[in-house]
């Protein structure tokens, strides 16, 4: 399988420098034709399920929870894919930047929130046997960030 992957990579010019014109042309063709990725959806296993929860801290001390929200179910599927990709990112600053953007989209709608804690984790689904014995899904935190989007107050003289 790995040999096949290496061979396909060579054919698609993945070994060439990123700026190579032939590689760029190949990338353009594969993206344009929709063939830049494989077809192993949900294979060999169905991946873990991730969840991002925002803990909203209000000015009056209240605390509420929110999820990234969209209007349509079709876009909801896109959020799931976004969270899957977020979990795969190995570069912490990029991951934090993406979570910050998502947190900001929530803060825009809730102007009296002074701080948002973003908690990212994965949902552990029980197996069928465990479910029939009464076990239910559980949530395990992977990382968390605190964000404040309020403008910095000017220093007192």
């Amino acid at each position: 399988m790995e040999k096949g992957e290496a061979l396909a990579g060579t054919v698609l010019g993945y070994g060439w420098p990123a700026g190579n014109l032939a590689r760029q042309a190949l990338e353009l063709y594969t993206h344009s034709a929709g063939i830049e990725t494989g077809y192993g959806f949900f294979a060999p296993n169905v991946p873990d399920n991730y969840k991002l929860v925002f803990e909203l801290h209000y000015r009056d001390g209240r605390v509420a929870h929110a999820l990234p929200t969209v209007s349509d179910a079709a876009t909801g599927v896109r959020i799931v894919n976004l969270l899957d990709r977020l979990a795969e990112i190995e570069h912490p600053p990029l991951r934090e930047l993406m979570v910050r953007m998502l947190a900001y989209s929530v803060w825009r709608e809730q102007a009296d929130v002074i701080e948002i804690r973003a908690i990212f984790g994965f949902v552990s689904l029980p197996t069928l046997e465990a479910f029939t014995l009464g076990e239910r899904e559980s949530y395990q935190t992977m990382f968390a960030y605190d964000f404040s989007f309020l403008p910095a107050e000017p220093e007192q003289p």
Partner: protein, 322 residues
């Protein structure tokens, strides 16, 4: 050697009517229209740049640029629109509107080639600028639109032929384009099925359970699903068998109808039980375009002698649909 070459030519350039193209064009037009309608309320949220969207379009396009600077993206459209003095929200709304118009034009076959190119370009731009949120349905829609864009348009049921009197192209050219789509689908299903079959989870029903209980695909209650738990391994094995066996059974005259029906039922089930209706629809469209029209011809051809036989016994004149 000559015979082998002739067989290869016959395989790659069979004489095929343009019905496959009618299915592909109308199907993709319907798919795009449905996509536009369903994404309208979140369009700005998905594709706005810094500060106004869910995940900034600028970030997605920067990640895309690492792979290739030549792949089309919405940033290009926005930059071009800004030269005309339009703001980003207006440009994004216009992009959505053009995509919807292209979908409707494809549905009715009006200005098919232009509509196909516009639809492919704008859809590609949207998907690549939302690369962090794209999924399988987007890839398959791009595949379909790419084939449609280079296909020998128009087809005889389109506005372009009926009203504008444009000529229909050669049957062998249609045959070649249809054949490429058929081979591509065989590769997709074979490797999709093979990779599923490599792990144990599709054999013991675990993947079926996880796929159907994973949020937001958990349309069916887990309690109901658990009561049918013993059927899950069979369903999982059935999916692997249908997909891996696709290139082996879809070509044969005897098994094509069964296999195509099995695949279509699988995609209808994915749409209904997981809420992935756009994904289910695009796969149904591609399958029907590739193998559906030919199946109809074969069923009629197979049924014709029987109809004539029965008709002559009962003194009924047979008029098969050609």
């Amino acid at each position: 050697m000559q015979s082998l070459l002739q067989r290869a030519v016959n395989f790659l350039f069979p004489g095929v009517a343009d019905r496959w193209l009618t299915v592909l064009r109308c199907g993709l037009g319907f798919q795009l229209t449905l996509y536009c309608v369903s994404s309208w309320s979140d369009w700005q949220l998905l594709y706005s740049s810094s500060g106004n969207g869910l995940i900034s379009r600028d970030l997605a396009e920067a990640i895309l640029s690492v792979e290739s600077a030549l792949v089309p993206r919405l940033g290009w459209v926005v930059t071009a629109g800004e030269q005309l003095g339009l703001s980003e929200p207006v440009i994004l709304q216009l992009t959505w509107l053009f995509l919807l118009c292209a979908g409707l034009c494809l549905l009715f076959g009006a200005f098919s080639r232009t509509a196909a190119i516009v639809a492919w370009f704008l859809y590609l731009c949207a998907v690549k600028s939302g690369v962090l949120t794209s999924y399988g349905m987007d890839n398959f829609t791009i595949i379909g639109l790419f084939y449609l864009m280079v296909a020998p348009l128009p087809d005889r049921f389109s506005f372009d032929v009926i009203v504008r009197k444009l000529p229909v192209r050669d049957e062998r050219l249609h045959g070649f384009h249809c054949r490429v789509l058929q081979i591509h689908l065989c590769l997709i299903y074979f490797f999709g099925g093979l990779t599923k079959a490599l792990g144990p989870a599709w054999w013991n029903g675990e993947s079926m359970w996880r796929a159907l209980t994973r949020s937001p695909f958990n349309v069916i209650s887990p309690d109901f699903l658990a009561s049918w738990g013993s059927a899950l391994p069979l369903l999982g094995i059935g999916v692997c068998f249908l997909e891996t066996g696709y290139p082996f059974f879809i070509w044969s005259r005897r098994t094509r109808a069964i296999w195509l029906a099995g695949i279509l039922v699988m995609h209808v089930a994915i749409g209904l039980t997981m809420g992935l209706y756009l994904f289910g629809l695009i796969m149904i469209i591609l399958n029907l375009a590739a193998f559906g029209p030919d199946l109809r011809t074969r069923v009629v051809a197979t049924a014709e002698p029987l109809i004539v036989q029965v008709g002559s016994k009962n003194l009924i004149r047979s008029t098969p649909d050609r």
